[in-house]
Amino acid sequence: MAKLTIPSEELMVGGHVACPGCGAALAMRLLLKGLGPKAVMVIPACCWAVIPGAMPGTCLKVSTVFSSFESTAAMASGIKAGLRRTGRGDVPVVGFAGDGGTADIGIQALSGAAERNEDFLYVCYDNEAYMNTGIQRSGSTPEYSWTTTTPRGLEKRTSKKDMPMILDAHRIPYVATANPSFPEDFVAKAKKAASLKGTRYLHILADCPTGWKHDPSQMVEVGRLATMSHLFPLYEIEEGRLRITWAPSNPVPVEKYLRAQGRFKDLTAEQIEEIQAEVKARWEGLKAREAREKKAVEKEAAPPEVSAAPTPHPAAPVSETVYVKPSPPLHFP
């Protein structure tokens, strides 16, 4: 047998009720490989509240608590406090919520917990809509995507919320993005996140063949294209420093990713070009940030320069004017 590149232990078993080819199911399976058997999961209303199966059956070999839609982070904080108080503070607590439960309804509980730096890992599996209730748009639905509440001709006209960066702005110890189409990178991040203290956030792109409208067999490929096109970059931010963990040297056009999915079927060439331009700009922003922070670390590590000449008064910093492209006006035909 070829050498395994991810742990063999399965903490999720077959027989659950996710749709065929569900990316969120693969995400949970990989996540648990990184977390280990001791984790306590807090799951709010979302597809994953249903996927484990009808009680008293479950596909998860870890303890699971179901929370109300908006309170994942609050409940995880409370469970952690209870465990600490009863001498079991080493038990890892993990919130596992959808994008609706994270970017929309659960954001205030999450933001509050992150600000208090509560000791748990929060995982958002982002399938870019409210899938469990029938594909309604969420704050995490990308621009120009079809959903049942942004139907043909009325596709979403605003950008996707950038949740990992919103969490990074809370100055928490660890923020990372992961993609189940890249299992080794995924499991490594889950392991690292589990090993740290304080609020940690993992943002997962979870393909949903049912809502994204493509054949279930394409799940891994569609996810792969998202990262291969730089649309969903793989990075981690540890103690405020960003590092791109893997990236293709030659990205594929974002059109390949979009055209693989029925939800983007009606996109015009101009809209694809616009998305491509935005993906490129965001990617360059990430690269620039990575380079800047790397330089800062090197400078910190280097011994201070000793100069005989008196140091001149530092010049006033030149403020750079950043041009922000205005978003297109809301347009409803």
Partner: protein, 92 residues
């Protein structure tokens, strides 16, 4: 804690993990994977990506747990040597 209820072993105080004998997730599948053993290299890639999971690999022997496999076709799609074919249930 292990509790026995209706002859079932519970892995916790409230729930048991579904197994092939308790789940019928595979009963509504419309196609199933079939291995072409000569082509299989035992690379584990299908196992890595199965969202159930319904694949076990021992040596080069790839085994599909058909009670829970939903026939999504992911395994066939990611197998580079094309050692898995999807067969419609009617003709399986």
């Amino acid at each position: 804690m292990t509790v026995t209820l209706h002859n079932r072993r519970l892995t916790g105080p409230m729930a048991w993990t579904s197994t092939a004998d308790t789940s019928t997730a595979g009963s509504w599948r419309n196609q199933r994977p079939r291995l072409i053993p000569e082509k299989c290299t035992g690379c584990n890639v299908c196992w890595k990506f199965c969202p159930e999971p319904a694949i076990t690999i021992v040596g080069k022997k790839v085994d599909f747990e058909l009670d829970v496999c939903k026939g999504c076709g992911v395994c066939a799609e990611v197998c580079a040597p094309e050692a898995i074919e999807m067969v419609p249930e009617e003709s399986a």
